[in-house]
Every structure is written in C-alpha cells, then in structure tokens.
Symmetry: C2
Subunit: 474 residues, 2 copies
Amino acid sequence: MKEDIISAMRAIAGEASVLTDPHDVAPHMIDWRKRHSGTAACVVFPRSTEQVSALLAYCNEHRVKVFPQGGNTSVCGGSVPDHDGNSVLVNLAKLNRIREVNAPNNSITVEAGCILADIQSAALDADRLFPLSLGAEGSCQIGGNLSTNAGGTNVVRFGNARDLVLGLEVVLADGRIWNGLRTLRKNNSGYDLKNLFIGAEGTLGIVTAASLKLYPKPSARATAMLAFDDVKDAVSQGLSLQGQFPGELVGLELISRSEFEISLKHAAKTRNPFEATPEWIVLVELAASSGTSEALTERLTDYLRDAFEEGVVRDAVVAANEQQRADLWKIRHSVTESNVREGMGLTHDIAVPTYRIPDFIGQASEALKQHYPDATPVVVGHMGDGNLHYIAMFSHDYWAAVDDKQKTQLELSHVLYDIAAAMGGTFSAEHGIGALHVPEMAKYKDAVEIELMQSIKRLFDPLDTMNPRRVVPN
Amino acid sequence: MKEDIISAMRAIAGEASVLTDPHDVAPHMIDWRKRHSGTAACVVFPRSTEQVSALLAYCNEHRVKVFPQGGNTSVCGGSVPDHDGNSVLVNLAKLNRIREVNAPNNSITVEAGCILADIQSAALDADRLFPLSLGAEGSCQIGGNLSTNAGGTNVVRFGNARDLVLGLEVVLADGRIWNGLRTLRKNNSGYDLKNLFIGAEGTLGIVTAASLKLYPKPSARATAMLAFDDVKDAVSQGLSLQGQFPGELVGLELISRSEFEISLKHAAKTRNPFEATPEWIVLVELAASSGTSEALTERLTDYLRDAFEEGVVRDAVVAANEQQRADLWKIRHSVTESNVREGMGLTHDIAVPTYRIPDFIGQASEALKQHYPDATPVVVGHMGDGNLHYIAMFSHDYWAAVDDKQKTQLELSHVLYDIAAAMGGTFSAEHGIGALHVPEMAKYKDAVEIELMQSIKRLFDPLDTMNPRRVVPN
C-alpha cells in the first residue's frame, strides 16, 4: 500500500517533489513546539494546482488520508499528520508564485505556499499594505493563514484573514478545481463559498490560491506604550482610543506585568521604557496614509496628555522615532520565545466581548489561585478584538513532576474555557481547532451547529480523506 | 389543501397574524416596481423565533413552499412568491425587537423585521454608528438586507452587509433553530456558517435575528461634489482619494451627466451646484470620530485645491454646512424615483475591478450606440466598490411600442453582462439574484461553483420548500 502511494505521488508530482527518507521527512512530522507528531507514507510538494488536483483525485479514489501543511506553525496540532502512516502529507511550499500584484485595484493574487512576509513585501514594493501580521510571518504560508482564518496584531483595524480575501481557488476532495479567484469588492451572485473554506483547516478541500485585498501604504505612524495600575483602566482607555481613532488605530495590545517581565528577562535587546514596572501595559499604534508621523504622534500625545491628567493613565512612553517604535514592539513580539524559556506555559487563546476582559481576567486569576496555586497568570492579547492569550505559567521543575500532564492541562483549560463561555466567549479565537481542540468543539458548541458542520463535512468530503479528525467532532 | 395550510398557520401564529383577504394580501404579492408578482395561500406574520420554527416545520412536513419577505424592496423579484398559490408568504415585520444595544462592545442584536433606519437610530441613540445605508432604508428590513448581502453608499469604508455581521440566529428548513448569535470579534471554532446564510436570500433557512457591528459615531464630516470632463479622470481621482483618506472616505459616488440632469429635472428641491453641467460628477464624503467638520473640510479642500491645480478636477463644490451637504446628497438619493419618471430604465447592477470602470463605460456606451441607438446611457454607481448601476434609458413612448419586451431586455442585458464578465466582473453586485437573475447564474457562473451551490441547497433544503427556484439554477 505504502509503496503504491509513493509511486503514485512520484508519477504526479515528479521524483524530486516526493520525500520519503526518514531524515528528510522528520521535520514535517512534528510541530515546532514538539507537542504533536505523526507519520505519513511521504511528503509531497506539488508545484501546480493541477498537481494538487491529481493527487487529491488519487487519494480520494484509493481512500488515502491527506494532511495539508503550510509553514507548520500551528499551535493546535493542525499541521502534522496522525499516526496512520499510510497517509500523504501535502506541503504547499513549492506552490508559491505571486500571480499578480494589481496596485490600481488594491489586490494581489498569490498561491497557497507564499510566505506571509513575502506577500507583505510584494505589497510594499507596489506602494501598498497587506495588513495581515503575526509572529510567525517569516515562515507561515498564506494557505495556512487562510485555512485557519489567522488573526494577529492588525485585526482591530483590518479584520481577520477572512476579511482580507476577495476570492479563492480550491481543490476539492475529489480533485475538482473551483476557480473562485476574483478581485471584486461586490459580488452578490450566489452562495458565499469562499468563507466555508476559510477557517476549515483543509478539511473541506485544499486552498491553492487567493486574491487578497491591499490597502494604501501608511505614510505616518505613531506608537506609544501606556502604563496602568488596573486592567479595568487599561481596557476603558483602550475602548476610548478605539472611539477616537477608528480609522487609524491599527494596534492595541494588552500585556500583564508578569508577561512584560518575562519578555524583558529573556529577550535580547529589550529594555523597560518605564521608570517603575507597571501592573498592566497597553501598546498602541496609529497609522495614516496622509500627513506625517510627527503630526500623528502629536495628535496621539495630545490625547494621552488629557488621559494622563484625568488620572487613568499612570505613565506613557511615546516613540519619537523608528528605533524607539521598534524597541517598544520588540517587547511584544518577544513574548512567545521568552515564555518557552521561562517555563511550561499552558496557553489559552480565548476571546470574550471586549468590555468583559477585566471580568475574565479577575475570575480566571481567582480560579488559578484556588485550584492551581503554583501557576502564575501571564496575559498578552489583542485587546481591541477581545482576544487574550491567557497563560498558566509553571516552572519547568514543577511541570516535570506533574503526574498526568494531559489530564492536568485539560482540566485547567476547561476551568478557563467555562469562564469565557459564560461570558459569550470562545475557547479558540485565532489559533483554530486542529487536532487539539476537537474535544472542546463537542463540549462548548451548540448542538445544531455541530450537526450542520458534520453534514457539510460529509457533503464536501464523503470519504473523510481530507485532514480527518480535525475541526469537526464525530 | 389551501384551507389546511391557513388553519395550521392560524394555530401557530394566531388568527390576527394570518392574512387571507385578497385586499390585505395584495400588496405582499407584487414588488414595488410592479414587475414581479405571485400568489400564496396566506401571508403570515410570526412574532417569535419559535413561531418561525413551528411554521417551517409544518411546511417542511407538508411540502408547502415558503416565501420569506422583508420590506418587499427587492428589485430582482426576490421578495414575492411564485404562482403556485398553495404556498405561504412569511413576512418578518412583526419579529422586530431590538434585543440589545451594547455600546461598550460596539454591538447591537436585532430581530429580522427591524427596519434598517430604526437600527441606525438605535445606534445613534447609543452614540454609535450602524453604517449600512441605502435608498430603501426607511422601509427595508435587516433580515432582507442580510439575506441579500446589501451594499449601499458606505461600502467603500465599512464593507457590505456581510462585513457587519458578528452572529446570526437562523431557522432551518425543518424548523431547527441555530443560535449563532455572538458578539465576538474573533472566533475560530469551526466552519463559518453565518456567511452561508448571508446572501442566500432565504433559500437555506430564514434569518430571524442578527448581532451586528457598531462603529464610533462620526463627529466630523466633509462633503464635496467634483466635476470632470472625462470618466477616466473621475476614476483616477477617486482612486487617489481612497489612497489619501482610507480611514475617512465613507462615500465615493459616480454620476453621469445624463443621470445628474434627470435627477435635477424630476426631484423637488434639487439645484445644480455647478455653473456649467459637468460630463461626470463624483460625490465624496469623509467622516471622522475626532476633530471638527471644519478641520476635516479644510483637509479635503487642501487636497482638492492641489487636484484642481493639476488640472484633473474641472470644478469642485465643498459643502460649507449641513444644509449644503444634504443638498448635494439629495441629488444622489433622488436618482431612483427620478429615473422612474423619466422613462423606462433597464437597470444593470454590475461590478468590475474599480480601475476598469472607464473601460466598461466606454465599451458599454459603444455597444448601446450600435445595437440600441434609442437608449440613453445613464450611470450612477458606488465607484469605490467598482459597482455601477448602468441604465439603458428608453422613453416611455418608445418602450410602449417594443414588441417582445422581455426578449429585448434580456438581450440588452447580456450584451452588458458579457462586457463586465470579460473584465472579471459580475452581473449582480449588490442587488442579488431573486427570481430575475437565475438564468444569468447558469450562463455566467463557473460550473463547479454551480454544482457546489446545488449540493448545498440540497443539503439544507432537501425538499426544496425554501424560496424555491430562487438563486440556484436547476
């Protein structure tokens, strides 16, 4: 069986595009945090939509499971195969042409394997902005970003990945190609199919290309870091900033003192911009396509001066130049790697209605204190979207001694998810479901919604070959 | 059969909520332009989601066709029943509570029958903006707006109706209720179901409530009307304005000289703000949530002064106060009623990539001149979205003498749709499909896309009772 699959893949994609050597295959079989792994008959790198079509048609006909993979940056085990072994891992890295940059139309058409940072660069070269921006942008692929409806730091102004898509090209489970690549701003001719595939994590088909929105390149930026004694003040100030600068506020990040200290401790070339370490930190960025950074910074400074006089903001650091701006963002961008060095962080990607953030943080801290006194609450999040990465941080030594790690992790998570759910929140805001969160789907989602998802899955993938046992619970 | 249906509806919704008298029923059986009509056993006004559920369950069990209706403002025959007669027309007007206005969360939850203008008012009362705005806003219902993914004049900044939805409540064909009402900005837990129902025109279920995004209420506006000799200049200036004011440009409307003159001729209290009548007119509006209208108007005026000196803009009128602003918009908002008075206007709701607008207008005018020399091209459109209402205007006398009106209309339309399609455009940008455009679906859409739509329709409505023969071709 395995040899047949490998031969078929070689016939379709060419000898050089099929990896079987255990050493070559290994990095594709485990996620970057080393928490999820699997095996497959081979790793295939298709170079055209037609090759994707041919290989899916083969796998469908022969009931071979297909696991799609982009930059393998999933934190939910969504980008590695299961342990079946007789499956095909399809990596889209070689399907990576930028098909068109259309500056007058503010659109770009790219193949699934394009690295996010390369798309951002291509946009900038055309004097445009592609606003999707997230930690893994140097290695994640746009196909994965769209398949997980990625979020990141610009969502407060430009929306999630979903909101940036004008059209898609998708290969269906049986190999049919849907060419839905369009660059129109309005098109009300029939059901909206693209949004079914966006966020479906490859369980309904493989996204092979996308037409995406571009925006004017900002000519001006203003960046500030604000200090607060209390998370309530931080959030009310953030909401007020959203009200004042709705067209210009492109970043609004919340950081707890614990996270701030971890980042400063482990990340090279970071320094505390405040005299005293604040309890809560908010990173604000404005951007505009006309006027100067000086003028925009002055408007932000005027606003902050008033807020400071009202006594809500304890302290504020406004970036005076590009280096200072980079230094402030460095603290934010260093949290993931710093957390890994600090200890064992059990991360939760929750969202609640924005104004409920202080309630969530209060109740979650209380619950940790009561049930997991050895955990330190560490918070970093996209405040403007109500999206918190709420981390229960244990020391490496403590965690090493925990008996049933999986059970502990699941129980702790469900304590936090229950709190979010009671506020109309979610257990997965921007990271998706993958293999990790399928049990939460069954526990927290509406029964009718699960039924509809199951029936859509059966409709698009009746033989269950596409990324099986991901996203939709049985 | 008919009597059974009426009895069942009375048992579910109450005597007073079921109309059968021909006089009462009549206005619901014909569209406002008097171009589409049908019959039904009765008109039902459910007052709760549970009543919608019960009536759909009954109709599904007894194979009774259901035609949903909102404000009956469709221009595509999407809001009136067919001629079967043994069907039920469900009007959502009495399901019209505003369930929650949540200003801190920038969200509002409304029932399907709420009038769009009432939602706008409720938002303003909470110091917020609900940006969906269109000609029929005084009578159209939000359920219809969402079911057709309505567009309008604010799309350039805030997107289509689809982009304003956080969550939906939907009753499925068999009566199951999907409670997908959420107010989260991020939620990546499973397939995106809401976008399937948005724009499905009631063929997959009936939207009974929605959670919608609110925005800060603008404190400042700047409005100007610009005159151009050539549509190329008008579009290049429009694209430039989008680049300069991406967060503030909320309206960018294109009007041809012919449309401008028709509006001035027929609409009361309109006057030409220019000394000479321009060939092409662009209406621009900026809005901001901080600063004053005076300051914003000054920025727009500075920009226009430069454009004028470059020789692209022939003339410009900047509104100095709210009355002048209303006067400029009055010309734009009067086009629909004025066109009806002027003659028989065959309207086409096309979209092309924005920068192709001049090409489309050039080719379309040429085609009309050649094949329909008695038609005057009349153009009004949402330039920022590439969406043109391209109208072939005939005199009433000429049209009365046309032999096969339906054939003439269809042939003329397809000449224009062919031109749009060759540019990657669409035959339906913001008005939807209804009964009118089903033949165009079959002609212009990708075969795989039609197959997918058909299979989704079968999945959600296997007995084909929900708004049958709308949207999806057989």
